[in-house]
Amino acid sequence: MATLNRADWYDIARDTNWTPRYASVEEIFPDEMSDAFGLTVEQWEAYDEPFKISYREYVAVQSKKDADAYSVKAALARANFFDKAAPGWISILKMHYGAICLAEYIAVLGEAKMARFGKAPGMRNMATFGSLDEMRHTQIQLYFAHENIHKSRQLDWGLKTYHTQNWAGIAGRAMLDDVILGRDAATMSIMLTFALEQGFTNLQFLGLAADAAKMGDYSFSNLISSVQTDEARHAQIGTAALKVLIANGKKAQAQQAVEIAFWRNWRLFFSLTGPAIDYLTPLEHRHQSFKEFVHEFIVAQFERAIEDLGLDRPWYWDFFLDTTNYYQHSGHLELWFLRQTLWWNPAGGVTPAERAWLEEKYPGWNQRWGRLWDVIADNVQHGRQDKLFPATVPMLCNICGLSIGGIPGQGHHVKGHWTDYGERRYYFCSAPCKWIFDIEQQRYAGHKSIVDRLLAGDIQPGTIDGTLEYMGLFPGERGDDADDYAWARSALPPMNDRSAGHADAAAGL
């Protein structure tokens, strides 16, 4: 390294605001792009990014990370892990790449928006690295996904999901666009880097890395934990922004931004990471339950960070904690029923041994969820094909785009949440999603879920095939049970004695 220490010159490189003369400050930093909080450039100059790194260090550290990740992949390429792994694990890889790769790219643009419109030079500089980081995440994950593309058409969704009208793609875009590009730089710094990156990415990128290491999928484990090291750095952009905002009397607005983004992220991450960790990972390789990961990274770590900054726990916190007991279970059951609409093959994950694990991790699981899987198994055993698919289209939430469901049967507590706005009624999965809509109704109104589109006749023909094709899914890439229903055939004795066994499990949702 060169002679001077970073501290000797670092502040000079972030002393780059000046008073413009040939264009106004408002023209260069319009509020709608820069700062919905309306702080001045001078107020933002107190911004002090805590995780400091220079360009020189950045390229050195990042090329080391890349050399490591790519060489582990190359070293293991001949081991043909993909051909030998359990089907459920392969499904996780397909789900991960399809849901994540292009989401990362929207963050490239989001970070660049902070690099352009952030009023604090320190934010602009750290976001410059952030944008590069997100390009790394897009590219390295696409590269790893592409390695096995000749083995499954479903891997095409690594590049495809977000370009389609698949319901999951719509839900992903809706969340990402709401918390990233649809926001000004200051709000985005909270929603993207604080709520999403400091909060939730740990679940997918470290939770799955832990399971992958146990699986022996070192290439994937190393990849996603390496990705997370970039997040740990640039996620700090939001911490410094929150300090400035709170110091300038904007706590209430900042609090609201955290609450909106936290909830929107939770709604997607439970449905993605939850089933992966609690059902799709082969039992012997599970490190912790999804709930345990949530408690490690969200409750113990993120909630504490919220408190430390002087913010409050989100108003729906008790409800959120309660949902860590069941969202992933209803989500998994639903994804399994909707498997034709997915680009991966969900595994049942409910063999007797797996049920014992679920019951241990989630006391009462058998009572709540096991009996529904019993019905499904019975239907499989009796060849009742029509009962293995949803009888009707699920109702989707007009904010998060996921289905409106809850705990089935006993303790069933799905409550109706809706808002009438304009000429129609908007339905929501939960009080927080309704709360988000009601904060800024014109922001979300008019958006059509896939179900709205079906009902409006936008999808032609409105048959199952027509709808699947509208969602970009053709035979050969539509999901099916990962284990060809083997779990249902062998797991249980036939249940001829159950008169209620013909009940449609999906109707219980």
Binding site: P50, F51, E57, L206, A212, A213, T229, Q288, R304, D308
Partner: protein, 107 residues
């Protein structure tokens, strides 16, 4: 569940535990040793999650560049810790001489 690979505490997890989550490997091992040297008075817990280790120290967790070099037996720039720093609890201060995790508000 994870197991603890090192512990220097008699009580339960306190609300003030801070520290890094590191990708497993030689740098993480050196960091575990360095944390014990650099935080002699703090209660410590190290959890092994195979892909990663979580280091928790009460109140503050300091890792010095010189201590890392000592345990790695080679030159080490503090920025290199980022290659394995996947997450962390607490706030961070990152300088070429040390990395420090801490809370503003201690309970």
């Amino acid at each position: 569940m994870h197991d603890q690979v090192a512990a220097r505490t008699s009580g339960n997890d306190s609300k003030n535990m801070v520290g890094p989550v590191l990708k497993s490997g030689d740098i993480a091992e050196a960091a575990i040793a360095a944390v014990q040297d650099d935080n002699p008075a703090a209660a410590l817990i190290v959890e092994n999650h195979e892909a990663y280790v979580r280091i928790k120290a009460e109140g503050q967790c300091l890792i010095r560049q010189s201590t890392m070099e000592h345990h790695l037996g080679r030159p080490f720039e503090m920025a290199e810790l980022e290659t394995v720093l996947a997450s962390f609890a607490g706030q961070i201060e990152a300088t070429p001489e040390y990395m420090r995790f801490y809370f503003d508000k201690v309970f």
